[in-house]
């Protein structure tokens, strides 16, 4: 009776290297047949499999022991490992201090390269990888809807209509606590000053989904949303401490929000301020109208995956539900499909991962360029140390031991570079943090976590060790390969590291140029985008403008007349101030935090339904708005006070909107109306105004529709005032004007327009600055690399140059040769680098919308690199030309 075939093979394999393998194999076969006879084949087979398994385990154990022993032997060469290592560290330190300048240069280069990577990784980690610190975040998902007309779901995702949310919630079997939230900015009155507070309205199990606990009282639940409206709120920990002095009796008390009384039911746990630095949370009013609302999409939806369910299960589930909803409500949902994403990926701004990815790549390029310099320095030092190495080989040190010694040296270098690099990163991150305006801070989740943490230290230490080991390998192999006899012979002359060393050193310079070029192009493109959006023409004149926002409360300003009167009194009050040239109001100002768009129905064209209409940003402005902002009205007229509620409805379109809707036609006199609005009267276009940069992120020249404030007064009122002198000086007086019009209205963002633009573009400017710094570092390091290579090259060829000059070569010829060689290397690098440099543009085009080909930028950078190559080689070339042939020849 033969044992099971597979098990038998396993036994053969496991026993093949054992001295008693034959014996064991035979015994097992024999015992198997005995057991089979006594207890049956099945039992015997099972027994045999068990024995095979035991043999395999034994073989694995023995292999592990053998490997461990081998490693120990290699590391210790028979000595006690720790003593040997300490000795080698001591020898390494001595060797490094013998070349203090080279050591310092290597440490500094490594520290710069690692420092920029640490700073970049800290941003990537804080803003992209872990921007939210929520319990069990891996099980959280974000559900949005994406429009099929856009290519990538991530770019095209949108918030969700309330009715779709309620349908998903009742039908999903894969997501628990599916919940929604929406913006709720409110005026908080009571206390000394009224205050604008960032709140969110949330569905019943929002807090359960996020697994948050109350610090005081309770959080919201399903009972707070159903059959409402329920006037209850949960305070954020920060607001509770700041505004209510951390009073524990706050629970059960009443506070005034937008003029209404709300009961405080609890305070959220410390540190919880999701989403977007929320200060308080109130319940969504799940009224019958809201549950039926399918047109407006303003819910952000999140939930927790049910146990044992994956994100793919949830996507499949939601897709089926989405298809059903689409069949039942085709008009509103024709274009939309549900999209389930991991919480972190779904919540971060689309594009930020790409931007910070590019920054990280830029930082890695700097490290590569610096690393190439380190390799060259190590090769040069290795050449100087060849006698030392040869001596040690001659008196019996093994080559493995020499190699190990050099690796230990690299570890010591890395160990010094790590703290220096972390200090660089710390300084850089603090600089970045201080540049972030408070207004933007809430919109950048994770920003407060920027810094040097344990995770970063680990990552950078590991990177430093690996990089430094990689950089040392080739120079160490070269050094350990030393030809004992040649090196010991006095005056022995050969080229350092031989031919392979020369090729590697030149290759490093080519590599530096090749990777510097795309980085410089990226820096240049980012800088030009930042210049265009932040400092370039905005389409209006931001200088001399000051702005103040306030949001009217529905209970105090229930109708259009009261809102119009408020705005008019505000404009009137501001206009009376001395030093004010003009004043106006608008529902939104450029570079603000919010936006509003409307669907347009064009007179004379078929209306294809809500989801096929063109849309445009929509602004309600007072008569002197264009004059105050200095937005040119190129055709027709501006709004006047005659455009009031009783007059014919009118509109002004931006040039971009005019050319989109009526290309090659005169838009003046054409009519359009707003889809879905209460006021369905046609508006006649009376003017065309210039394009402005409303928000850099939504591109330059975005089309825009303006309507007179008197005809459609809004709750949001932005006062814009043009000052004759310094606009910042007016802010105090503007607050007073608002107080005199309505003391219960809190002013928000009283600031100059230039500050608004600067703050709004801070991310873009930061990226441009970071890329600029990386670019400069790359160029400097590459120049240093080229310089040291040429200097070394000249020093090596001193003798040869002397001979040439003795034979009649002129100084110019010698300089020419050196410079030509530098240009060849730089040119080869630039040529290779052109390909990635071209690809970079495509990458950046997705991020900075206006990035054009800009051949002049490419040309300038290529020329600059070649110029740097020439300059870096001129000094060594001049030194070469000063070689005195007589001295050189005699010295030999």
């Amino acid at each position: 009776m033969a044992p099971p075939r597979l098990a038998s093979r396993i036994v053969h394999w496991a026993a093949r290297r054992l001295s008693w393998g034959e014996m064991a194999t035979g015994d097992l076969a024999e015992e198997h047949s005995v057991i089979a006879e006594r207890r049956g084949t099945a039992r015997a087979g099972l027994w045999y499999w068990g024995q095979a398994l035991l043999l395999v385990l034994g073989a694995g154990y023995r292999a592990a022991i053998e490997a461990a022993t081998a490693i120990r032997v290699l590391l210790s060469l028979g000595d006690r490992p720790m003593t040997t290592l300490l000795n080698e560290v001591r020898v390494a330190c001595r060797a490094l201090t013998r070349y203090p300048l080279i050591t310092a240069a290597i440490v500094l280069t490594l520290a710069i390269g690692l420092g920029v990577n640490a700073a970049a990784f800290s941003q990537l980690d804080a803003l992209v990888l872990r921007p939210f610190r929520l319990p069990d975040i891996d099980r959280l998902v974000v559900v949005s809807e994406w429009s099929e007309e856009n290519s990538s779901p991530h770019d095209a995702k949108e918030t969700v209509s309330p009715a779709n949310f309620f349908d998903w919630k009742s039908q999903t079997r894969t997501i628990d606590h599916l919940s929604a939230y929406t913006w709720w900015q409110i005026n908080m009155s009571g206390g000394d000053e009224p205050e604008r507070v960032q709140g969110f309205q949330v569905s019943g199990d929002f807090f359960q989904a996020l697994n948050v606990t109350p610090a005081l009282g309770r959080l919201l639940n399903e009972r707070d949303t159903a059959g409402g409206p329920h006037r209850v709120v949960v305070l954020g920990y920060g607001l509770w401490k700041r505004r209510f002095g951390a009073r524990t009796d706050i629970v059960g008390q009443t506070i005034k929000l937008d003029g209404n009384s709300y009961d405080v039911v609890g305070v959220a746990q410390e540190g919880f301020d999701f989403p977007l630095s929320a200060a308080l949370w109130g319940p969504i009013d799940a009224s019958p109208e809201l549950v039926q609302e399918r047109r407006d999409r303003y819910f952000t939806v999140l939930g927790r995956l049910s146990p044992e369910r994956s994100i793919h299960d949830a996507q499949a589930d939601l897709t089926v539900i989405g298809d059903r909803i689409r069949r039942e409500h085709p008009v509103e949902n024709r274009r939309y499909r549900p999209l389930v994403q991991s919480f972190t990926f779904g919540m971060i701004d689309p594009g930020i991962d790409q931007i910070l990815g590019i920054v990280q790549i830029g930082a890695l390029i700097v490290l590569v360029i610096g690393g190439a310099n380190v390799v060259n320095l190590l090769l040069a030092r290795g050449w100087d140390r060849r006698r030392e190495m040869a001596l040690r080989l001659a008196i019996g040190a093994g080559r493995v031991r020499l190699l190990r010694q050099l690796l230990v040296e690299s570890m010591v270098l890395a160990a010094i570079a790590i703290p220096v690099s972390l200090a660089f990163a710390w300084a850089a991150l603090n600089l970045l943090k201080s540049a972030m305006p408070a207004r933007i801070l809430p919109f950048v989740p994770g920003w407060n976590d920027l810094g040097i943490g344990g995770r970063l230290v680990l990552v950078i230490s590991a990177t430093a060790m690996i990089v430094s080991m990689l950089l040392t390998i080739f120079p160490a192999l070269q050094a350990a390969k030393s030809d004992v006899v040649a090196a010991l012979r006095e005056g022995g002359r050969s080229v350092a590291g031989g031919r392979s060393g020369r090729v590697v050193r030149s290759g490093m310079v080519v590599l530096q140029m090749a990777v510097a070029l795309p980085l410089l192009v990226a820096s240049g493109l980012a800088a030009s985008a930042a210049r265009d959006f932040a400092l370039g023409p905005q389409g209006y004149d931001p200088n001399g403008l000051v702005t103040m926002r306030t949001v009217l409360v529905e209970s105090t300003y229930p109708d259009a007349v009261s809102r119009r009167l408020f705005a008019e009194r505000l404009i009137d009050g501001a206009s009376r101030l001395s030093g004010v040239e003009a004043a106006a109001t608008a529902s939104f100002v450029p570079s603000g935090d919010s936006n509003a768009s409307r669907e347009l129905i064009i007179d004379g064209r078929a209306d294809e339904g809500p989801d096929r209409r063109p849309t445009a940003p929509y602004r309600t402005v007072s008569p002197r708005y264009f004059e105050t902002m200095r937005i040119p009205v190129s055709a027709g007229r501006s709004f006047t006070s005659a455009d009031n509620a009783d007059a014919m409805p009118v509109a002004i379109v931006s040039q971009a909107l005019a050319s989109r809707i009526w290309p090659r036609e005169n838009p003046i006199g054409r009519r359009l109306k707003i889809g879905g609005a209460e006021d369905q009267r046609w508006m006649t276009v009376v003017g065309v105004c210039g394009n402005i940069i409303d928000d850099w992120y939504s591109r330059r020249n975005s089309p825009m529709l303006f309507v007179p404030m008197s005809q459609r007064p809004t709750y949001i009122v932005n006062l814009v005032v043009r000052a004759a002198g310094d606009p910042a000086l007016l802010s105090g007086e503007l607050r007073q004007v608002l107080k005199s019009v309505d003391p219960s209205q809190p002013p928000v963002h009283v600031t100059t327009m230039t500050t608004m633009v600067r703050e709004r573009t801070v991310g873009l400017r930061m990226i441009a600055s970071i890329m600029g710094v990386l670019g400069v570092l790359a160029v400097v390091l590459a120049a240093v690399g080229l310089y040291s290579l040429m200097a070394y090259h000249v020093a090596q060829r001193r003798h040869e140059i002397g001979v040439r000059m003795a034979l009649g070569a002129s100084q110019i010829t010698v300089i020419g040769q050196t410079v030509r060689r530098a240009c060849w290397l730089a040119g080869a690098g630039v040529l290779i680098g052109l390909v990635p440099a071209w690809l970079v543009r495509g990458l950046l085009r997705n991020i900075f919308f206006n990035v054009s080909a800009q051949p002049e930028l490419y040309g300038a950078i290529v020329l600059a690199l070649v110029a740097i190559a020439i300059i870096a080689s001129i000094v060594p070339a001049r030194q070469a030309s000063k070689v005195d042939p007589a001295v050189t020849l005699r010295s030999n």
Binding site: W20, M23, E31
Partner: protein, 111 residues
Amino acid sequence: MATPAPYIGELEQLVLLAILQCGDEAYTVPIRGVLMERSRRRLARGALYTSLERLEAKQLVTSRLGQPLAIRGGRARRYFSVTPAGLDALRDARQAITQLSQGLEALLEKR
């Protein structure tokens, strides 16, 4: 003076005794069977093989290969026998035990 027999450990003593017990049929399978049965303890296969190799290296046992057998998948049995040196070593060990046990009978007697 005769050289003293090499020192042998407890497992080696047991293996030597098991070989003697098996007589002419002293190959690995019955050796392990007898040893486990009479000493009432588990013995890992590898431990037995290693002990046998060690005893052979110390020349306390010798071995010879039998005929290849189908039941063993074509492999031969290896028969072991204890050498005179092996017997000496066993006697020495036993004597040491006996001498060290004198006067302790009451203590060591099975109750």
